[in-house]
Symmetry: C2
Subunit: 122 residues, 2 copies
DNA sequence: TTTATATATGAACAATTGTTCATATGTTAT
DNA sequence: ATAACATATGAACAATTGTTCATATATAAA
């Protein structure tokens, strides 16, 4: 990047492992991909959304079901479902007045499980 | 516009799939586990921390290296490393004045990869 | 000791985020 | 048509969060 004169603007250190930094810089994915990845995990990073995803891995549910299950307002659930929808983690189908949500990605469970494995390791 | 009798407090719907809700309720992990899981993904849900984790999967680096690589302040990186440390995602070793950080969990890469798989689909 | 350097951390601030409230939209029944 | 109901959504608010700034701590060298 800007490691030109042995000194870098944003870092007030003199000692830098130049080769390491350059090596890793060459290995880093594009900023855009890392941004998208962080955005994805941000979606998983809320208790309400985690609960919704967890519930939907068990069964297709309507908004009202989820609100009842989690003892939360319909509005709150609906707002969160929108975020999950935008992240393509859930899909929906409308049947009359009722909208049913379900998991839209087989990897949701796997991401879940990896997280649980980490937590259960200690 | 609120009915007040004989309904679930948090949900203003009349139509609930009672069996579904009860079935899923029986399958849900403990709230505490879901909270911890959300907290874990929250750590992954920041661009700076994702970049740090990504960098450390390639090589052990000191704080200054990371700051230089990401063109960010030492303070900012140090703050984020503390969060990663608390989540047991990175470990460190001190060598004189320099503190070297590295990945502390083999599953970090797998969580990463599952996220990337989701993003690269569709 | 004093100085320099690498890292850590508390406080303040701006930016983001989740919930609530009120209301809008879409569908079914009357 | 109107009413009832399931869901969606904009605005406001409080709570959380990431960065900056200033400073503290830890280690090494002079």
């Amino acid at each position: 990047m800007n490691a030109k004169n042995g000194r870098i603007a944003s870092c007030d250190c003199n000692l830098i492992h130049k080769e390491t930094v350059e090596y890793v810089a060459g290995k880093m994915p594009a900023d855009e991909n890392l941004y998208d990845l962080a955005e994805l995990f941000k979606v998983f990073g809320d208790t309400t959304r985690i609960k919704i995803l967890c519930a939907l891995t068990e069964a297709e549910m309507c908004v009202c079901d989820i609100a009842a299950l989690l003892n939360m307002s319909q509005s709150s659930i609906s707002h969160q479902l929108r975020i999950l929808k935008q992240a393509r983690l859930v899909r929906y189908r409308r049947d009359g007045k009722v909208v049913y949500y379900s998991i839209d990605d087989e990897h949701v469970k796997q991401i879940f499980d990896q997280g649980l494995i980490h937590l259960n390791e200690k």
